[in-house]
């Protein structure tokens, strides 16, 4: 079987922030990057399917050269091939459109995405991708029971409030994978080194309408915020205990 996994190298903001000259994004100097947490779970799920059924895992990302780190991380975990699409916008419609071109060409049996990316949190890209490839989709999946012969999967969809919706989905399909579905494997040093040597297939996205345009980015006012307990750990513990006892009366 062939599983396509969509991954993203996400940006993380530290304690300090400066904005770009146009005020519409964070200055990249203030950002670190890492593989999106959800995508590690999606990659692991794909690898487990391949181990059971054979075939290949193709990992795809959308972004500049720096986003290849996400691909190499997935390759080190065990993915077989990697594709990067560049030249697309960063909103979910642009990213979904760019990924859809690759997915259509790959004709996979399953497409796995993370539920959302930690730096944008829109939970949209996988569903956009499914629509543009005319594939069924299930969002926020916590269990996959895939039947390759029947071209179906029974999956658990995690609703709010501790409720789970069990769904039967025709495949090929796009599933967005929730954290906790498995325990993503660690890549060993040798695999990481080998992944650095893999050639990545780079393609260029076709343009199209964006979901939105960022007009202004800013640090939100914190409101009143928390009243700070100060001092040594012992002093903090003392104030904390007093406060708790007072409020529990």
């Amino acid at each position: 079987m062939r599983v396509v996994v969509c991954v993203k190298q996400v940006s993380q903001l530290g304690d300090e922030v400066e904005f770009t000259g146009d005020g519409c994004d964070v200055d990249p100097d203030y950002l670190d990057s890492a593989l999106n947490e959800w995508d590690g779970f999606a990659a692991e799920e794909a690898l487990q399917l391949r181990e059971r059924l054979g075939g290949e895992v193709v990992v795809v990302t959308c972004g500049g050269e720096e986003s290849e780190q996400a691909l190499r991380r997935a390759l080190a975990m065990g993915a077989d091939r990697a594709i990067r699409v560049e030249g697309a916008g960063r909103d979910p419609l642009s990213v979904g459109r760019a990924l859809a071109e690759v997915v259509r060409a790959e004709s996979p049996d399953l497409v796995l995405c993370g539920v959302q990316s930690s730096d944008s949190v829109q939970a949209a890209t996988g569903t956009v991708l499914a629509e543009l490839c005319d594939l069924p989709r299930v969002a926020v999946v916590t269990k996959v029971d895939y039947d390759h012969e029947a071209r179906k999967a029974v999956v658990d969809r995690e609703l709010e409030g501790g409720l789970v919706d069990r769904v039967e989905v025709d495949t090929p399909a796009v599933l967005t994978i929730q954290t906790g579905i498995n325990q993503p494997r660690y890549a060993n040093l040798r695999a990481i080194k080998q992944a650095e040597q893999v050639e990545i297939d780079v393609r260029t996205a076709a343009g199209g309408a964006e979901a939105y345009r960022v007009r202004r980015m800013f640090v939100p006012s914190k409101g009143e915020g928390a009243q700070l307990l100060k001092g040594s750990p012992a002093e903090i513990a003392g104030q904390l205990l007093e406060l708790v006892r007072e409020r529990l009366k």
Partner: protein, 311 residues
């Protein structure tokens, strides 16, 4: 500004977010139409103050199915041409809201927590980069916009409404992802964290599985019930019955004491109604300090150790 709100429901109950969407729709001026897509839509009461029209869309699916919902909303949008379609930023909406925008060529944004009108333009505010910054989004050139609004960001509309009610026939078609059954994720357990007056809650900051025991012991000494944030459940260190947040339990204890919880949006939604929130975290910029009444920027193990000594 014409607004179409899609009602959320599960097991025959309208979910609160529906009424929050009505409040948000009112801020955009209206008229406000609420579509109820369900097997028996008339049985779901969404007639609250602020709703101008209710459209009942009867479908065969017993619970949410993405193809069925998408087809119904597509047809409604084609007929009504609302300027704004409002959905909750919920698991159901995530399964078709973005697809709707992609198919119909509409603007889109998810997890929106602020709305404003500038002339005839909608401006949506949402967070980026771990909620440390916010952005105002505009939708130039789009014929309409699909917005998924953050649950609990607006107060729910209430009071008796006077909406007109009509029926809408959604086109038939295949459902490629079919609802089978609803099951409770959390196994029955000895404690119900939603009933506790005092929660000691731990998160990713505890670092290692071994440290769970440390906090179990501390909770016992304090007379608190131990609860956790999602990463602790994902790691398999505690059962999901202990999880606070949107996908776990919503809690409102008298005291919520958070150790090593940075405060993901989904976590905050599940505990921000607590009486007194006290947070200990090493990161002064952690989002939990935004909802906490009291906070300490400190090493949680140092504070825990000192607390132990006092008990």
């Amino acid at each position: 500004m014409t607004v179409l709100v899609i009602a959320e429901h599960v097991r025959g109950q309208v979910r609160d977010v529906t009424f929050e969407l009505v409040t948000a729709a009112g801020e955009l001026g209206g008229p406000v139409t609420v579509a109820v897509i369900a097997r028996d839509p008339a049985a779901l009461d969404v007639n609250v103050a602020g709703v101008d029209e209710i459209v009942n869309v009867a479908v065969e699916a017993a619970e949410f199915e993405s193809d069925v919902w998408q087809r119904a909303v597509e047809a409604l949008v084609a007929e009504r041409k609302p300027q704004v379609v409002l959905l909750g930023f919920t698991v159901n909406s995530m399964g078709y809201g973005p697809a709707l925008a992609a198919k119909l060529g509409l603007g889109f944004a998810g997890d929106v927590h602020g709305l404003a009108l500038e002339g005839e333009a909608v401006i949506a505010t949402r967070s980026f980069y771990g909620s440390k910054v916010s952005a105002e989004l505009e939708f130039p050139g789009a014929a309409g916009v699909v917005l998924l609004l953050r649950p609990t960001a607006w107060t729910p509309a209430e009071g008796p409404g006077s909406a007109t009610v009509s029926a809408f026939a959604a086109p038939a078609g295949p459902s490629r992802a079919r609802h089978l059954e609803l099951v409770e994720a959390a196994a029955a357990s000895d404690v119900d964290i939603a009933q506790a007056d005092f929660l000691l809650s731990i998160g990713r900051g505890i670092g290692e599985r071994e440290n769970v025991e440390l906090f179990e012991a501390l909770a016992a000494k304090l007379g608190a019930t131990l609860s956790v944030s999602r990463p602790i459940v994902d790691a398999g260190w505690m059962p999901s019955s202990r999880q606070v947040g949107q996908s776990g339990k919503t809690v409102k204890p008298k005291v919520y004491l958070a150790f090593g919880i940075s405060g993901a949006v989904q976590h905050l939604a599940g505990m921000k109604g607590s009486g007194t929130i006290v947070a200990v975290n090493t990161d002064p910029e952690a989002a939990i300090f935004g909802v906490a009444h009291y906070g300490a920027v400190a090493d949680l193990f140092d504070v825990a150790e000192e607390l132990e000594k006092l008990l």
